[in-house]
């Protein structure tokens, strides 16, 4: 079956993985920061931030894509600024597809990370304090290592979700082969063209394989990491 993949189809797979990797690479640090903020601090606007983070989970993806267009489009406030100062254009680019994936998978990451942060025993953090560890030190030496299983699992699940993101990507980044055409978009395109069923079937099979691989790896990795900290 692998031989049956044409160079074009290989390109789709590679692009999909690249987009998902970029989406997680960009989104993960932000997700950790957001989860920390939501799990520890009480501050004005916390509820609003919480809602905002979770919005992509309940909004139609097309709406998210359209909101991204409004914000990051060349005439949107952020998009215009980025283009004027750095020459960065997000709409209809690979980076744009990655951004759409980041936004869509963000709530998944934040939820998983936040749960694992809140599961860290505050008694251990207290013990670290009495041993001379300041706030940043405690975060790096105690809190994050203990929350690591949740962070890794969250990232892998989000990665798998990015592989399948459709609505937000096609709305914000369009369906450009070699640039923004990820697996689901390629499957959609194949189904639109006469005689494309065979291509669509092959791509779908790859999709299923990648999704199962992602879930299996996250499960196994999570178990190993938890065993390391004796849970």
């Amino acid at each position: 079956m692998w031989q049956a993949l044409s160079p074009d189809e290989w390109q789709v797979v590679r692009l999909t993985l690249a987009v998902a990797a970029r989406a997680i690479g960009f989104g993960l640090p932000l997700a950790v920061a957001t989860a920390l903020l939501l799990s520890r601090q009480r501050f004005f606007g916390r509820g609003l931030l919480d809602t905002l983070v979770h919005l992509p989970l309940v909004l139609p993806p097309v709406v998210v894509g359209w909101l991204l267009l409004l914000t990051f489009g060349l005439r949107g406030p952020v998009g215009a600024w980025l283009f004027a100062h750095f020459g960065i254009r997000l709409v209809f680019t690979t980076s744009g597809a990655a951004l759409a994936c980041t936004v869509m998978s963000f709530p998944l990451m934040v939820r998983a990370i936040r749960l694992s942060l809140e599961a860290v025993d505050p008694a251990l953090v207290q013990a670290a304090r009495t041993l001379g560890a300041g706030p940043m030190d405690r975060l790096v030496s105690i809190v994050l290592p203990l929350a690591l299983p949740g962070v890794v699992v969250g990232a892998i699940v989000a990665f798998a979700a990015c592989l399948g993101e459709f609505g937000a990507v096609i709305t914000f980044a369009a369906n450009i082969p070699g640039q923004t055409q990820t697996l689901p978009l390629a499957i959609y395109a194949a189904l639109q063209s006469p005689g494309g069923e065979e291509v669509a079937a092959r791509l779908s099979l790859i999709s299923v394989t990648l999704a199962i691989a992602g879930l299996t790896i996250s499960e196994a990795l999570g178990r190993r990491l938890r065993a390391r900290i004796g849970r």
């Binding site: 304090r129 030190d137 004796g230």
Partner: protein
């Protein structure tokens, strides 16, 4: 000296504590659960911000609400051993031990010495979840020691352990006292830990420090809770004066008091002994032939009657020491035991518990 003043209102109870205790030495906070012991530990460590606090250790002020000064826990350099060891599960024993050491200024307590003292060399590469409760607690003690603390706080470190495990760790704690000239505050509700470890005792009841003083005084003061117990006893620290290999006896001495006990094997310069009040016999004259070795000339200091049980507790001053005798009300009358009266206290050698062996 450690000075502590603490007032805090909890939902149901209030804490109102005020005591000074000498350093170095081990101060035991002794009282039933709910007396506020753990809150005191948390407040000294800085993990509880009480309504009103003053804490100073050897002249260094750690918190003073009057001047709005509060040193955060990570700067106090107070080692804490919690009841649940709280080892970091993602690090091996060695990394746990070094956690505080790496963050502390250079100090006198060395890694190898602590490992040897606590007998944890074989555990260094193990993970905390593979350790037994007693092993975990030993590692926790080592970790706190290595943070080069100015004060070591121990909050019921043996409370979660069964009797054999407790017996396994207590000797380490006794050795710890002798190793470092480190002030220790030790919290417990167990009498055996108090008698083995305390130099100074703070008796706590319902959020208040009832009395503070040397254990040898507090243990024998009639009217305080320790002497009122059925297992009341005098606790004395004595020099090992000489051994008599022929009679197989050891002579222990302190100012104005000497005791013969079955010969000691351990070669320590001083020992701590416990003389149970029930085992002390009072007399006005001694029969010529008697198996009792220790006939101590003393003076009655106080007599406390327990009318309900037709018993009395008698404080007897011998030299600079005080022992307790529990006798019947009838014996008090027959011997005319009143404060100031001379009396002989008879103590069987084998009824003297040697605590430090």
């Amino acid at each position: 000296m450690i000075a502590l003043r603490l007032r805090h209102r909890f939902e149901r109870t209030t804490l109102d504590i005020d005591f000074n205790t000498p350093t170095p030495g081990t101060t035991v906070l002794f009282g039933p659960s709910g007396a506020g012991k753990s809150s005191i530990v948390l407040a000294i460590a800085g993990l509880l911000r009480a309504d009103h606090t003053y804490v100073s250790v050897d002249g260094v002020v750690l918190a003073d609400t009057d001047t709005h000064f509060f040193m955060p826990p990570e700067q106090r350099r107070i080692g804490v051993v919690f009841q649940d060891a709280r080892l970091f599960p993602h690090m091996d024993v060695q990394a746990n031990l070094r956690y505080g050491l790496r963050r502390a200024p250079a100090g006198p307590i060395r890694f190898d010495d602590v490992v040897a003292l606590l007998g944890i060399k074989a555990l260094l590469c193990r993970r905390p979840h593979t350790l037994s409760g007693g092993e975990r607690q030993r590692v926790a003690i080592g970790r706190a020691l290595l943070s080069q603390p100015r004060l070591l706080l121990m909050d019921e470190p043996l409370a979660g352990l069964d009797t054999p495990r407790k017996a396994e760790i207590l000797p380490y704690l006794v050795r710890l006292k002798t190793m470092a000239a480190l002030p220790i505050i030790y919290v417990t509700h167990a009498l055996d830990e108090l008698t083995r470890l305390a130099d100074t005792v703070v008796l706590l009841e319902q959020g208040r420090a009832v009395v503070t003083g040397p254990l040898s005084d507090i243990a024998v003061r009639t009217g305080l809770s320790l002497a009122a117990r059925d297992d009341a006893a005098a606790i004395l620290t004595l020099r090992v004066s000489s051994h008599d290999p022929v009679r197989r006896l050891t002579l222990l001495e302190a100012d104005g008091i000497s005791l013969l006990v079955p010969m000691l094997n351990a070669a320590t310069p001083t020992v701590r002994v416990r003389i149970p009040a029930r085992e002390v016999i009072l007399a006005s004259a001694v029969p010529a032939t008697i198996s009792v070795h220790n006939v101590l000339q003393g003076v009655v200091r106080a007599v406390s009657q327990d009318h309900g049980r037709h018993q009395a507790l008698v404080e007897i001053t011998i030299g600079t020491a005080t022992v307790l005798a529990r006798v019947t009300a009838d014996a008090v009358e027959r011997l005319a035991l009143t404060p100031g009266a001379p009396v002989l206290a008879l103590v069987k050698s084998i009824s003297i518990d040697i605590l430090d062996a």
